[in-house]
Every structure is written in structure tokens, then in C-alpha cells.
Symmetry: C2
Subunit: 279 residues, 2 copies
Amino acid sequence: MEPPPAPEGRSVIERTFDVLGAFDSANVSLSASEISRRTGIPVATTYRIVSKLLDWGALERIGMNKFTIGLRLWEVASLAPRHAALRGAAISPMLDLHAKTHSVVMISVRDRREGVWLESVSGSGGVCHRTWSTGNRFPLHATSCGLVLLDQAPATVREDVYAAALPAYTDRTVTDPDVLRNLVDETRRRGYALCEGQLAEEVAGVSAPVLDENGVGIGALGLVTDSPAAITPRHIALTLETSRRITRALTLRSRETEPAPATVSRGGRGRGVTRPDCA
Amino acid sequence: MEPPPAPEGRSVIERTFDVLGAFDSANVSLSASEISRRTGIPVATTYRIVSKLLDWGALERIGMNKFTIGLRLWEVASLAPRHAALRGAAISPMLDLHAKTHSVVMISVRDRREGVWLESVSGSGGVCHRTWSTGNRFPLHATSCGLVLLDQAPATVREDVYAAALPAYTDRTVTDPDVLRNLVDETRRRGYALCEGQLAEEVAGVSAPVLDENGVGIGALGLVTDSPAAITPRHIALTLETSRRITRALTLRSRETEPAPATVSRGGRGRGVTRPDCA
């Protein structure tokens, strides 16, 4: 991401979202002066914006002078359609895949030229669990999920990625666009992607596409192992089976004609309590 | 919720959040003129605000002239700490409880004088699944989750609820504050709450408290059945067992000393890809 322009040139709305954007997974609570430092917005202005955000519920106060993202922002944001159906259909199959393999399992989508993890299932140990907690975006060219998402992307996005600098994370990261192009073609041909040590030395992953009810690729299911760093044929078979199960659940949901397997819904925000609901 | 004041008296930040608040689970995509109609903000101003929200990623465009909540807002909002740990610890046990009972299972927290569903697990049929999709807030006085959350609330909040009007949703809704007070006391004594037909005629629920690592109540696990509308001793035992399992998972997570059972993490937003992550 590019650094934001100097704050004095930014509108009130831009500054407001700069304040929200100051929070990340390493900083889930911040004081007003910390927000000011992270955004470059003067402290007095920061306080004014924070106060408005508190009123609405986009921020909440914890302790004397710390703030966190608020439940009401989460309620509105949970309406984001790009993830709601996918993660709802994916969680139960992901938990099953984790139970069978003890590997980390995640579901991802593409956002512009990056991947975004929507959800992951893991034990509490392991390198993956720890590194994930620092952020949820990942480079498309150095991950198995990324190869699947590149295959699903419009050709113009794919060419943009090939044309951009491809940073090396390890000695094995693919930085040559022609090699990357071949990997994406191979992913399409065989229906899944493999990466070994391309983002982190001792980590290997396999990913398979998830399709919507029209057969259009909308995300990638990934399985990651770091002990030992090897993907087995069983990993591949189970990942493919699970991605097909998620695709089927999405199709069933969209038809809504017959009972689907257990699905998980996050509360989408309503407009207050307007009608009888369940106990 | 009270209606917002006339829009002309509202600040830019307030109008911006009015625009975001125009979306709800019955309206996940809106045109600018629909947003204008729902918020009372003039169309030209609505367009200006929408344009800023698109730039930042709080909204996304779909089709020619429709907008939805964007993935980036979801990334920031997923940092909301009041739900992140709870729902991460809860999902796997909730899926198990659903598999054992075929009932709807949900996890909830209190926000001021209302309850908020964080997550629910259900089949695709059934009255509960359908009514939930219209909103995720619920009244504390007419639900089993609400009784548990009232028991957990500070005394001042509890007294506020007792003192306010208690709307009747069915003939069986408790609208007498003294009866409600007794129900909350009974919930505390026996460690779970029951509701039968108090929010909807043919729906019954049982709820049990979830505690944080310090033994403080932070949420309620609920199980709801509508066919037949009866909670059995087995429902109660399994709900209590599952809520204790979620409490244990939260405690294990907070200690982070030993491998926990499978947990689900949503991608918390990071600041771009700043370090090696998993494949």
C-alpha cells in the first residue's frame, strides 16, 4: 500500500477513514495520541473525529483513554457481500478438512492485486497461525492461493501483476513473470496450485478454486503445512474434495430449494428490532 | 433505535455514517438515489460521500449504479475485539452442537440495552433462519440469550431495562419488570435461561453464559428449536456443555501456553504485506 498523502490536504471523510485505518491486528486498541502519530492528524482534530466515531459506534472506549473498533461498525461491515456467502458456506467444510489433516486451512479472495484471507482454521501453535496474526493480505505470486486467484482474475489484472515487480520472500519465490505465467497456466490445467517455500522457507501449501453457482471462480481454498513442509497426494485430494463441497454449498444456498448442510451466518445488521425473532 | 435528526443539521462525519448505515441485511446493495431516500441526504451530497467511500474501499460498486459495503471496511471492522475472540472460540463447538441437535445455535453479546447475534449455525430451512436474516439485534427481555446477558450486565443497565417499557411480542412475553427480575435471578441461580414463545409463538430457546478467562460473563450461547417448540433436558445439558467448552477455549487462547483445539480466525487487517506469511 502507498502511504497516504500529507494529512492537511485530506478531506474530513478521508481523515475519518485514516483514523479507522490506524487500527490493525497488531494495534487493536489505540489512544488518541497514538492514532494521531500513526495518521499524522493533529491530536485536537483526532479527538474531534474520535468523538464522532464513538457517538456512532464505529469506535468504542476501553479503559481510560484507549479506543477500539466498535461492534456497530462490525455489524454494518458484515454486510459486505464479497465474503458473506463464501465464508458462511466454507467454515464447516474447512473445520472438517482441518480435523482430517491437522493442517492450517484458509479461504481467500482477491482484492485488486492482493489476496485477502477471509477466514482460517488452525490449532494455536505453528508458524502459520503466528504469522497470520500480523495481517491478512498476501502476495498473489508467492502463494498457492494466489496462483488460483490469479487464474480466476481478469486478464488485465493478471497482466498487471506479471508486469509489476515480483518481490522475493525466499530464494524460491518466483520473480520471473514468464515462470509465473506458466505456473498459472499449470494451475488452470490441473485444477489446483502448489507452493513450497515461496513465501516462507519451511511452509508448503496446496489450493483449489471455489466457484459460484454460475461456475465462476470467486475464491481459493488453501491448506498449509509446515511440519514437514510437504504436500502429499492425500492433502491434494482432500483439498479438492473440500473446495467442491464449498462450491456445492454455495450453489445450494443460491437455489434455496432444498435443505442445505449446516451453514454459518453472521448477524447482518438490521434496523433495530422490528419484528419477532427467535428466542 | 431513534430516527436520526434532520440531515441538514448533521456533520459530514455523521452523514458519512448515515450512508453506511443505510445498508442492512434486507438492502445489501443500494443505488445512490436509494441511499438518498433512506438517509434524507440530498442526492448530490450522497454522490460526493459515496465517491469518497469508494476511494477508500468502504463501499464497492456492483453493476452500473449499485453499491455495497466493501471488503476493506470488513477488514478494519474485523478488528472489533468484542466479537473476534468470542466467535473464533465459539464456531467449532457451535457446529458440533448443531450436528448433535439439528437446532439453530447462536452466540450473542449485549450492546447497551439490546442483544446482538455474532454468529448463528443453522440448516437453510426453519423459521429462525429466515427471521434472523432481517436483522441481528434482539430484545433482552424476551429471549433466553437476553436473560443471560441481563444477568451479566452491570446493575445500572439491568435497572434501565426493567424501568423501560417492555414491548410484548406474543401473549407470553414478560412485560412486568418484577417478573422479569425474578427470571433473571432464576437464570443466575440455575446457570441457564429458558424462553418459550416469548418472542415468537412457536419458538423455544435455552441459553447459557460464556465467560472470559477471568470468569467474567461476556456472552450467551443460545439454542433455538421450533419443531416442536420444546426444550428438552438433553438440549439444556448439551448447551451447558458447549458453553463451558467455549469458555475453556477462550481461557486456553488467552494463556497461549498449550495447543488449543481448532480455532477459527478471521483475517484481521494488516498494513499491506509486510513480512513473509504462509502459502
